[in-house]
Amino acid sequence: MSDVSFVRTEMLPEQAPPASEVGPIGWIRHNLFSGWFNSILTLVSLYAIYYVLSGVLPWTFQSVWNADSLNQCREIMMAKWGSTHGHACWAVINDRWLQLLFGFYPSHLYWRPILALVLLLIALAPVLYSERVPTKLLILTAAYPFLLPFLMWGGTIWGPISAALGFVIGWGVYTVASKQISGLIGIILGVVASIIWWLVLSSYFVGAMDSILPIGIEAVQSRQFGGFMLAILLGVVAIGVSLPIGIVLALGRQSDLLIVKYLCVGFIEFIRGVPLITLLFVASLLLNLFLPPGTNFDIILRVMIMMTLFSAAYMAEVIRGGLAALPRGQYEGADSLGLNYWQAQRLIIMPQALKISIPGIVSTFIGIFKDTVLVSIIGLFDVIGLASAIRADTAWNGIYWELFAFIGALFFVVCFSMSRYSMYLERKLQTGHH
């Protein structure tokens, strides 16, 4: 053995990486200044951020909160900062925020839309967070469609009850008839029974019950609805009703029954081919022409119908995408298990197809919620309609940034949380391995 060794026998201690490669400095080097081009981009964007913030921050925070008109606002600004530029006049929001939120809803009844919103959140909880909330709450979810109009419009309690009875009667007729005769006949008879109840018998029932037991709360006219409340109301109804209709339309479009298929295709492509505003024209001008002479039902109800049909068509396409993305083997597997069409849909196809289409469904929700502001064009006083009215008011003539920032923030909060929720849901339902 020679004592001259070429090979080091002991390991060198591990050295810490250079200070410029780790920690905040390393991060900055890698992410902001990794080359001359990147460095220029970083500097330009830093300047852009500075430019925007230096305008927006003083504007937002060095602002006037208490004034009666824009002129008074400007006087206060002149006195305080010596210029009227670069300072927000939040006084307009301070003055009108209740109106922007509730429209012309009677102020002593504000608790009703607020209660409806709270109940909505509670009713949604078992659906949205199914694993953390007791399933018993689903009873409230089922009752909510009838509670909502009662709270919003008020009037007699027998109206919503009679509407709910229609469903009960339809279901009863279906169960009896499908046991006695056949499932198909049962469905038809059930639907017919419900329609007869709603169109013919329900008004007598409501009248009779109202004279026997007059329970009710103060009624509110539709023209008093407005503001952000209207957007939420229209959005909730259109979203809630369009999902089931959309599923039915998508199944119809995918089905082997030619006539059903082409009816669905025609409906979907027609609705998707025209802008929502023309459908709202139909709601405000034509829908009364299409109904029996003398019918004159509520403008908000008409708008709800058209918005629901509109979003149902988009929903149908999204769900059809999910159905098409499902591997053929799933359909064949369901067939080989001997499941019939509806069992296969309910147990195998729909849970997977809906899961695939969650992002699309939620972006349709967001789209329809944003589109509710279009009702300002047919003369309803939603937020944008109210903003125009406020801008036309002599006291606030010439104000725009503050109003639109407020309205934009309202929509941003709702839409952004919806999109974040869909990401959460996607992660939660993720069962595949990637």
Binding site: N31, T42, S45, V260, P275, I277, F281, F404, C415
Partner: protein, 422 residues
């Protein structure tokens, strides 16, 4: 071995319509058809009764009557003495103008933002995320109305440009005037113009075609044809010898020399806007309504396109890039020859639906008073004549035609770039 025997032939019984799956589908279809026809008949008969009660039978004669309202932003000549049909035609062209402008701008901005969102630069990626989220989560109508408010309230009035010490000045070497009455940009003029061709005589869709424009387009097409010839020849030489001759200076020459000769022959010059009286004269006047609509629609749609572009680029697996660089392709060529063709297949279908959305959203023009087809046919014409049914149905038909033709064209393009599988 087993032998299969046919099941005994059953005679058709009426109850099989309900219980036999072979016949039940026919039953369901017949019931659906009858239900649909009943509904349609009910609606039509109601409509006829209602219209009779109102004394307004369905007829389209009002289209020939003079419209007697003005359209301030228009491509073709139009006076208030022209018919309602002419007004609707001008409105349709306005819709198409804003849709085309919007689609082009939205694509440019959207691709730019989408690529930058994937940038390695953390700050840039965050800024672009903020832009996308901000525009996607706020209604487009709000952006349109806000853009209009900014243009009207935030920009200087024309008389701010007046005097020795004006508070506002024209931009871009005194050629563009940005005022609260709109933007005035230079117009193209020809001092030795070839004149116009008048098409369709005096009908409602009459329009003039400038011969100068045709000459310019013909020369441009010729130049491009020869440029492709030169490029093809260079490629052939590269195939044969391996060397690609330098051709960019020839290409530039072919593109510019004939065009410059033609323009100087026609006496091409720019007509600048000038302040005369209370307003600017000369140049092309783009109204605030057009600019607000265009800006808001394109920035809004660009946010969606950015997401599509980003998803499309992310959808191309990283192995493709690595394989391309293993073959020795430079990054630019990797992008052009490997990544983009594959990303485009993912990008194009949702892009089509966004173009369609932009076109349909352009109907919100009515909120800012831009006279598109909704503003003319569905707005003033409808209010003046009181023919809601005819106007709204025609309006829907027009949009349906636009949508269907855009999606037909785009689907054709999509099929032509689609990956051909077995």
């Amino acid at each position: 071995m087993t032998t299969l025997t046919d099941p005994p032939k059953e005679h058709f019984r009426l109850s099989m319509l309900l219980y036999d799956t072979r016949y039940r589908s026919a039953t369901i279809q017949v019931i659906a058809l009858i239900g649909f026809m009943l509904l349609a008949a009910w609606i039509i008969s109601n409509t006829i009764q209602n219209l009779e009660a109102l004394g307004k039978p369905v007829e389209f004669g009002f289209f020939g009557e003079p419209a007697s309202y003005d359209i301030n932003q228009r491509l073709l000549e139009y006076t208030s003495r022209d018919s309602h049909l002419r007004a609707a035609f001008i409105g349709l062209l306005n819709t198409l103008v804003v849709a085309v402008l919007g689609c082009i701008t939205a694509t440019i901005v959207g691709v730019f933002v989408g690529v930058l969102r994937l940038s390695n630069n953390w700050l840039i990626a965050r800024i672009m995320t903020v832009y996308v989220e901000m525009f996607r989560n706020v209604p487009v109508l709000l952006w349109i109305v806000l853009a209009m408010a900014i243009l009207i309230e935030g920009l200087p009035a024309p008389n701010a440009f007046r005097g020795d010490n004006p508070t506002a000045t024209m931009d871009l070497f005194n050629s563009v005037a940005v005022t609260n009455r709109g933007v005035y940009i230079p117009e193209f003029l020809f001092s030795r113009s070839l004149g116009d061709i008048h098409l369709f005589g005096a009908s409602s869709i009459r329009f003039n075609v400038s011969l100068d424009l045709i000459a310019v387009l013909v020369v441009l097409a010729g130049s491009i044809f020869f440029m492709r010839k030169v490029s093809a020849r260079a490629s052939a030489k590269q195939e044969a010898t391996g060397d690609r001759p330098t051709i960019w200076h020839i290409q530039l020459g072919i593109l510019f020399v004939p065009m410059i000769i033609l323009l100087s022959l026609l006496g091409f010059h720019l007509g600048y806007p000038e302040l005369k009286g209370f307003n600017f004269k000369g140049g092309t006047h783009m109204r605030n309504s057009l600019i607000a609509l265009w800006l808001a629609l394109s920035l809004y749609t660009a946010a969606f396109i950015a997401e599509i572009v980003r998803a499309g680029i992310l959808a191309v697996s990283h192995g493709q890039t690595e394989a391309a660089s293993a073959l020795g392709l430079r990054p630019g060529r990797t992008m052009r020859l490997v990544i983009l063709p594959q990303a485009l297949r993912v990008i194009i279908p949702p892009m089509i639906s966004n173009y369609l959305n932009l076109t349909k959203n352009s109907s919100l023009a009515i909120a800012v008073g831009y006279m598109d087809i909704t503003g003319t046919l569905g707005g003033i014409t409808m209010n003046q004549t009181g023919r809601e049914l005819e106007c709204v149905l025609l309006l829907m038909l027009v949009y349906l035609c636009i949508s269907l033709s855009i999606s037909a064209v785009m689907n054709w393009y999509n099929n032509s770039v689609k990956l051909v599988e077995r």
